[in-house]
Amino acid sequence: MQNNYQSSEISSRRKNFIIFFIVLTGLIFLTRLFFIQIIDHRYKIFANSNIQRIVTDYPARGLIYDRNGELMVFNEPYYDLMVLPGQVREMDTLEFINLLDITKEQLENRLQAARVYSRFRASVFERQISKDIYAVLQEKLFKYPGFYVQPRTLRKYPEPVAAHTFGYVGEAGPAEIAANPYYRPGDYIGISGIERHYEEILRGQKGTRIVLVDALNREIGSFQEGRYDTLAVAGTDLYASLDLELQMYGEKLLQNKRGSIVAIEPSSGEILALVSSPGYDPNLLVGRIRTQNYQMLQNDTLKPLFNRALMASYPPGSVFKVANFLVGLQEGGITTHSRYGCPGYYRSGGITIRCRTHPQPVNVVSGLQYSCNTFSAIQFRNTLELPKFESMQQALTTWRDHIVSMGFGVTFDSDLSHELPGQIGSADYYDRIYGPRGWKALTVISLAIGQGEIGTTPVQLANLAATVANRGYYFTPHVVKAIGHPDSLNPGFLTRKRTTIDSVHFEVMAQAMFETVETGTGRFSRMDDISMAGKTGTVQNPHGENHSAFIAFAPVENPQIAISVIVENAGGGATWAAPISSLMIEKYINREVKRDWFEQRILDAAF
């Protein structure tokens, strides 16, 4: 057997077997093809009498409610006219262009563009066709094979408020499509605000259906009982932490003014109101009118698209004394017993900081109450020059670390979009400017009164008020309270952020802020029925009138709201920002405002 492998007889048998096997395979194929192509007529029916169309089902985007279950964002249905170039046949062009009110060139150009994209994938031919055209088109669609109507939805806002917070939705661009295969040309995607941050939760999951279309271009059913279809999954609803009424009231108070209001619930970090003025009607940035309106808003000199509450970085002025005093108490630069006289100014080494006339001498409580610059400068310098610090760098870094622990100089990494960090002067920075040995406490003394190399955003200031309200900790400020179910909690923001300052010192500051409103710089805004703690501030503005600033929380014993208000070019904090804060607090806690003249004065003001 070993040697006859090459005998011609055996070789020939093997050759014949191989040829037999090849021919057998060919015959099996031909038999199978005979059955498929000639005997079995099902395939011709599938292919000839039906045209299949792949239809995308866009699920409804999740709705957005406010913290009390009031609807803030919903969807309105509309229709896109779609075209599948590969299925377009001869048609009555004249009637078609009259119906859609387009020119013959437009028709040709759009068909050409659709063909260039794909002959077999649908393109949008006309976006958001009107209800009238839709009604007529429904009747006549059978005359235009290859065209069909795709139902879609648009965002709609019952009250034109909180535009910056919601952000907007737009068509996915080439970059988004390249980055995520989920999106196709014509799909919508959240571009900013909540719409962007919660995009995947809000959008749901689109589905595809293969439908059969008859010769009259009408859907006649699903292909193979829908066995190849995927179901669309509806988007999930969100519960914003905003209080719709408070938000509306805040926007009303800031009418004809530039500035911002941020109100936070201290016990959760939930943002109750986030106002940036001037704002815009969110209904302007929806659907086919979006691009045009966006251009208009962008060219507006008042910059309505700019979200001041998160992005405007101001030197905070006197409100920052709260943070500085806390560091002084913690490090031992001052104690609650420290008392200093104020001659109306602070002068040292050729530097003068002016103060105003107020009762003398001052301690840490009355220093804040009267916003004494002299006391602020002394305590700041004492702190930086404490003997325990080996260098000015170490002292300033210690101060800065405390400040950062209160949320300044960094972003909260929250669900807020386009949040900016602001800045807090660092030892490195001063080393670069003055050289490592070229600066001392006096060089940076303006930090003591919240000026100089310091920039804070309104949301950071509101968070400072919330931190004092909590006596030493805060929750990341955020705008979505619950996902899916109103009683659930947004899992991203449940951790307490402790500051590096002991809570006893916060107790002192809470007391000082209370005194500020009772008998100090904020007394004009004092309410009889609600105990408020606050701090006024005047933001130096080299370009014009100073900005009016105020931070507050209330009620002092059981804080439910913490707030920061900045009114640009309005002057002192006590005159405008503090009254606005007190009105917001009254509105939130009592649900109504009784001080009519006080309210009217604000509504009438314009800066």
């Binding site: 040829i19 021919v23 194929f29 498929i36 192509q37 011709k44 260039v116 066995r227």
Partner: protein
């Protein structure tokens, strides 16, 4: 003998004709499958059909070069070519680009080359050389070792590229080993029977198969009852088969991964995988089935053009043939392939050199395997495995590789009388 300047002398004209028939059919169908309304010219180089024309022209250039080479070059350089291509396979693993999850492409400027396509050719050369060198002419297991090594190296390297289709193609070399007597016929038959039973087991309840087989064996045993030894052998075989059926059933249920099950399950019942492979297979069958007896006519196909059929120009090119040219077209194409395959085998048999014969059989086996898997896949007889239909599918590497392969053999054949 005078120096031979007529390179194409003695070339087998029938094979050349068949080759060019298939190439032209392929080009026309790639055009029909992928036609772009805005670029209707078949010579438009921005489209796949225009590029295919370039591939055809360059393939003819390659063929000419092959024919100017002295035929002694091929056995002499067989191992060097093999080694070079194996290095390329290693290189593509390290530096190649990934297309469709397979890391098997070299991109050189605008040209993409798939070394795996040329590995078949190189392996055929090396296999022919190693069997030719086996002067002992014995066929023990030790003799089988070297040929097996030569087949195993590229198989492994291509497997590592995650290119399942091309890896499986190397199984075709077993046909060559069978012809050369390394593998006995019953192993081949057993293999085919095993696959057949495997599918049957998943299709029909295993107890029905066991029952039918037992019944059949008993009937045959009844007629053979006088030859006791045959009856014993038959009954032993029956037991073995029953055990196999049982093991297959168990293995499918318990051992295979879900995605592996899916490929097989789709084949048996196309409704199983609702979105993936099942849909593709269903669309492929609709396209072919709707062609009827004479087809819808050139460029008149609807299914292949509405992008329901995937990979219309490459792996599923047979759909276009079936849809536009109908059963008649299918018969012609399959007929052409069978004629080509038989012609190559007959040419291989008339070689005086073992080298040329083994090389010829390798060529026939590889083309046959591609033909079987590719067309079988489109009509739902073979699982969906992505390999091209030789000479027909769009693609430069495949066309070049098969042209070089076929014409190297024709060169050897044209000089067969000079070979020792």
């Amino acid at each position: 003998m005078r120096p031979q300047f007529n390179f194409f002398k003695n070339i087998d004209k029938i094979t050349v004709l068949l080759f060019f028939f298939l190439v032209i059919i392929g080009w026309v169908n790639v055009y029909a499958a992928e036609i772009n309304e805005n670029h209707r010219s078949i010579f438009d180089f921005s489209q796949s059909y225009g590029k295919q024309f370039v591939w055809i022209i360059t393939a003819i250039l390659l063929i000419t070069i092959i024919f100017t080479i002295d035929m002694k070059f091929f056995p002499a350089f067989a191992y060097i070519i093999f080694g070079g291509v194996m290095l390329l396979l290693v290189g593509v693993l390290l530096f190649g680009t990934t297309v469709n999850a397979s890391k098997s492409w070299f991109h050189i400027g605008p040209v993409a080359i798939q070394p795996a396509e040329f590995a078949k050719y190189a392996t055929a050369l090396a296999l022919a050389r190693v069997i030719y060198d086996n002067k002992s002419k014995s066929r023990t297991f030790k003799d089988l070792l070297k040929p097996l090594m030569i087949i195993a190296i590229p198989t492994l390297l291509i497997f590592l590229q995650n290119d399942t289709g091309t890896t499986l193609v190397f199984a075709a070399f077993f046909i060559v080993l069978y012809r050369e007597g390394f593998v006995p016929g019953w192993i081949i038959i057993l293999g085919i029977f095993g696959v057949f039973l495997f599918v049957l087991t998943l299709l029909i309840n295993e107890f029905v198969i066991i029952g039918v087989l037992t019944g059949l064996s008993l009937i045959i045993a009844f007629f053979l009852r006088k030859k006791t030894s045959s009856v014993k052998q038959l009954l032993a075989l029956m037991l073995l088969i029953n055990a196999y059926v049982y093991v297959v059933d168990y293995a499918y249920d318990e051992i295979l991964q879900p995605h592996q099950k899916m490929r097989i399950a789709v084949l048996i019942d196309e409704s199983v995988d609702q979105r993936g492979a099942g849909y593709n297979l269903h669309q492929s069958k609709i396209a072919i089935g709707s062609g009827g007896l004479t087809g819808k006519g050139f460029l008149q196909g609807t299914q292949t053009k509405f992008s329901f059929v995937p990979e219309q120009g490459t792996d599923f090119i047979f759909c276009t043939v079936g849809e536009e040219w109908g059963f008649v077209g299918s018969v012609v194409l399959i007929g052409l392939f069978l004629t080509l395959l038989i012609r190559i085998i007959l040419l291989a048999e008339r070689q005086r050199s073992v080298f040329s014969r083994v090389f010829g059989y390798s060529l026939a086996s590889i083309i046959f395997f591609h033909f079987m898997v590719n067309i079988g896949m489109t009509i739902g007889l073979v699982p969906v495995i992505g390999i091209p239909l030789p000479m027909i599918s769009y693609g430069g590497s495949s066309l070049w590789a098969f042209s070089v392969f076929l014409f190297t053999f024709l060169k050897l054949d044209s000089r067969r009388l000079e070979f020792l």
